[in-house]
Subunit: 145 residues, 2 copies
DNA sequence: CTCAATTAAATTGCTTTCAATTAAATTTAT
DNA sequence: ATAAATTTAATTGAAAGCAATTTAATTGAG
């Protein structure tokens, strides 16, 4: 009885194109992010900050699927650039609250120009992009399974 | 005139769920890959080796969307585990040919058990998985744009 | 109340990833 | 035939990313 190795082929795996695609698209952000002095990880942290203004490291981690091991150095770097503040919560000293500075707010202006530039070099129609979006969030939503 | 910041929201970006999804699924591989002593990157290199037997670093990089900066240490590590060989091409000394060893071939057996285990914890129907697959390769295929 | 368990973030150690540079071999143009 | 340009890997340096551990604060059980 012959064993079936088909699933072991790169082209039969869903994980691989996901992984490759993710890196290729993130790469497209680099030249634009360079202009505003952010890395991709710093950029997605700032995206949360532009929406929420104040957020604990834990909440940030849940939103971005990142842990404190990744976030701590990123947040320290954003703090040193003057874009966010890091303050311990007075109610619970374990909690670190990340806040946005005026300078951080101001950066939103320039950052807003990036997404349209990326969108136009991803070769999907709006419908396809919508479908992809839903499928990705379906996977993300089902972490427990 | 109010500027439109909607595209700056995390939930309106395609890149973010792609990035998060990729990392979450790769994470699911870890416990299984640990059992056969491979990292995810080593695993996808081995997937190419199981199919091709002999491949240059350049070809490997094109297939996996990785450069020599990433591949060189991974290949050295696989070589030290005895799973692949690294030999300079005699026709062109610049080219490094990666070959698979018997031990590398033998690992395929255990590796074949991994994909089914992953598949069943990704909450997509076969049709959805197919759609996702096509969309991802549509993006990957359009690198030039 | 006190000690154990839990929680949040930071730290450590390791692999990955990538941009940029370097080194060596090959190809091309003159 | 030789010099310039190109190609292939390797190297270097920096940021991510993650598992595992540690530290400090808080909560809970007896």
């Amino acid at each position: 009885m012959e064993k079936n190795y088909d699933m072991l082929k790169l082209e039969n795996q869903l994980c691989f194109p996901l992984y490759a695609c993710s890196r290729e698209i993130v790469k497209k952000y680099h030249p634009h992010l360079d202009e505003i002095g952010l890395t991709y990880t710093q950029y997605i942290v700032m995206m949360v900050m532009w929406e929420k203004k104040h957020v604990s490291v834990k909440e940030l981690g849940e939103k971005l699927y990142l842990d404190s091991g990744t976030l701590t150095p990123v947040l320290k770097s954003l703090e040193s650039k003057g874009l966010v503040t890091r303050t311990r919560s007075s109610e619970d000293e374990r909690v670190l609250i990340v806040g946005i500075t005026d300078e951080g707010e101001a950066l939103k202006e320039q950052a807003a120009e990036i997404p349209p530039k990326i969108a136009c070099c991803v070769a999907l129609s709006p419908e396809e992009a919508g479908t992809l979006y839903k499928l990705l969030y379906k996977i993300l939503g089902n972490e427990s399974a």
